[in-house]
Amino acid sequence: MLQIKNLQASIEGKQILNGIDLQVNAGEVHAIMGPNGSGKSTLASVLAGREEYEVTGGEVEFLGKNLLELEPDQRAGEGIFLAFQYPVEIPGVSTVNFMKTAVNKIRAYRGQNALDAVAFLQLMKEKMKLVEIDQALLSRSLNEGFSGGEKKRNEIFQMAMLEPTLSILDETDSGLDIDALRIVANGVNKLRNKNNATIVVTHYQRLLDYIVPDFVHVLYKGRIVKSGGKELAKELEAKGYDWIKSQLADSVIS
């Protein structure tokens, strides 16, 4: 589904990604872990098409298309969803209204008819149940005055509404207490199926107790330095990121 080859990217002239290789297939969950500043969020932003980042090399193919040639809204239309680490507030625009616009824009991109009010409400009701979110929250201005947990739950609700092929969760666990974490993870798990895939970007192993990954990749200094199964996350948790750093240092010496 997603094929990243030797991806390099910089921001304001500073090189952050130094050649990422990653393949994600339908039905898989990949976790990207790494210490602060390793480039995890940059990778998420580059895949979503954030303008501030300049791609300086490499290729990204998504469902047979050159992803790097597409505008961010086109990428969304193709089925890429980013759950933001810091969801943005839009005063005066309710989540309901925001989602109605988004759902119909994406449908238009795919050549589908716009949902009418009744069909949209029905879809919303169904997804609200799935991710355990309250209608009152969705009628309020998008993310304005939301708690950290409410913001993240709202992200997952949006993900449910847009039914993406590839979801990228950027530090979705940050700022969540254990109950909120469980609800968010439950939502993600319910949305998993054999046709979609998820990339979970996280600093901590904690989230991976709830969203169990098929693969774990460790990002360090803009490169994937180690990949493995879910047990790699546990090992990281136990030994810390210094373990990776020292391993790398050893390999350079030998």
């Binding site: 505008e71 961010p72 809204d73 980013l82 839009i90 989602m99 616009t101």
Partner: protein, 481 residues
């Protein structure tokens, strides 16, 4: 300036000396302004003597006045002797087909969601007999007449209801109120008059939409609305479709008069030609709008969406004379490219327990300048006066300006005044968030701006609000990125 006035007086008196008269048969007055022109206008309209006298008095005031220099707007000096102050309403060339209309205009109409019939009406294409808006207008008029509501052009009102005009004309905005009001009082061409009798609740939004004959009221328009005791009226002025006009200077006067327990809701969408992208052309809009809450428990509410004009200078105000009377001002003013707006309100608290509420949302883009100027004045006997003001500015890009000039004068210690102000920028973060959800940039800006202006847009009548939303988006098209 004194010298200028002297020169002006010399010129006008000189022309008078020579016994220069205007040909009454002409469709157009010659350029320039003097007493004869005022007489000509009045004669053309077959006005009674008292109205001519009123105009002349206004003209003499105007001659002694100076153009205000305090607004935060800049424009080349206007030569008032180079303007034609009267031309007979010209019949627009009737087109038979929308295909004859400028396709750019049609595109705009489509984006605004204006119906085909309405498109035809606005562009002067003949409308089929069945849905002829004139006949619709007649039906409305009959209904209003049944309730005793008077709603007609100003000229018609002068003829049909002279006692009302005589009583209320200039009662809220005196002829010598300010430079532009004095000018308007001297030369006003036409406008609207509305009277709602005691206890009548006007069952429909009154708008120029169906007062089709008076649509071409020209550059010096005058509106007078009188709501008698316990009555209610909602009045709509303007339309969302772009309005082009050959007259660059517009100086209108609007007077609202609310008696005991009466309520007037006045909504405006102003979309005059703002000039091109380089700031050439465009309308100068200098308007005096004021409402008088004369009776106890009366209420006047102004809602305005200002997107057009090269220069906007207007301060819809409320004089809260009656005890427990209430004034409201809701405004969205958008400026783009080289537009300049200096707009706001005045709330004058005279009566006891009077309340006012100001919600102003400025949006500046391009190289435009957007100023809010507001005054809250609590007079000595206005015990327990309350005011709440919220003035927000939204900036798009880094070449525009937003300014706030709040003036607060309080002469009574029991007053409670609250003022809140914010300035924000449409963030790249907000845009990117929308993009990531599949919403393209144009739609994203529309969404964000409409959210920002929601509190004001909510005050507009439903169908108007929908069009106004689209209009905001259209005005800001291409202003991000």
């Amino acid at each position: 300036m004194a010298k200028d006035n002297q020169v002006l007086e010399e010129i006008t008196s000189k022309e008078y000396e020579h016994g220069w008269t205007v040909n009454l048969e002409a469709d157009e007055a010659p350029k320039g302004l003097n007493e004869d022109i005022v007489r000509f206008i009045s004669a053309k309209k077959n006005e009674p003597e008292w109205l001519l006298e009123w105009r002349l008095k206004a003209f003499r005031h105007w001659q002694k006045m100076e153009e205000p220099k305090w607004p935060n707007v800049h424009y080349p000096a206007i030569n008032y002797q180079d303007i034609i102050y009267y031309s007979a309403p010209k019949k627009k060339k009737e087109l038979t087909d929308l295909n004859e209309v400028d396709p750019e205009l049609i595109k705009t109409f489509e984006k605004l969601g204006i119906s085909l019939t309405e498109q035809k009406r606005l562009t002067g294409v003949a409308v089929d007999a069945v849905i002829d808006s004139v006949s619709v207008a007649t039906t409305f008029k009959d209904k209003l007449a049944e309730l005793g509501i008077v709603f007609c052009s100003f000229s018609e009102a002068v003829k049909e209801h002279p006692e009302l005009i005589k009583k209320y004309l200039g009662s809220v905005v005196p002829m010598n109120d300010n430079y532009f009001a004095a000018l308007n009082s001297a030369v006003f061409s036409d406008g609207s008059f509305c009277y709602i009798p005691k206890g009548v609740r006007c069952p429909m939004e009154l708008s120029t939409y169906f007062r089709i004959n008076a649509a071409n009221t020209g550059q010096f328009e005058r509106t007078l609305i009188v709501a008698d005791e316990g009555s209610y009226v909602s009045y709509l002025e303007g339309c969302t479709a772009p309005m082009r006009d050959e007259n660059q200077l517009h100086a209108a006067v609007v007077e609202l008069y609310a008696m005991k327990d009466a309520e007037i809701k006045y909504s405006t969408v102003q979309n005059w030609y703002p000039g091109d992208k380089e700031g050439k052309g465009g309308i100068y809009n200098f308007v005096t709008k004021r409402g008088l809450c004369f009776g106890d428990h009366s209420k006047i509410s102004w809602t305005q969406v200002e997107t057009g004009s090269a220069i906007t200078w207007k301060y819809p105000s409320c004089v809260l004379k009656g005890d427990y009377s209430m004034g409201e001002f809701y405004s969205v003013a958008v400026t783009n490219n080289y537009q300049q707006a200096d707009t706001g309100t005045k709330m004058i608290h005279i009566g006891k327990n009077t309340k006012s509420r100001i919600v102003s949302k400025g949006i500046s883009a391009g190289k435009s300048q957007n100023s809010y100027r507001g005054q809250v004045h609590v007079m000595k006997r206005a015990t327990n006066a309350r005011n709440f003001s919220q003035c927000d500015s939204l900036l798009m890009g880094d070449q525009c300006g937003a300014h706030t000039f709040p003036y607060i004068d309080v002469e009574n210690q029991t007053a409670r005044i609250e003022h809140e102000a914010t300035t924000s920028k449409i963030g790249e973060d907000q845009i990117f968030y929308c993009l990531q959800r599949g919403i393209d940039e144009e739609a994203a800006v529309a969404l964000i701006v409409n959210g920002y202006a929601k509190e004001v847009l909510n005050q507009l009548p439903m169908e108007f609000a929908v069009e106004a939303q689209k209009l905001l988006a259209l005005t800001l098209e291409g202003s991000v990125g």
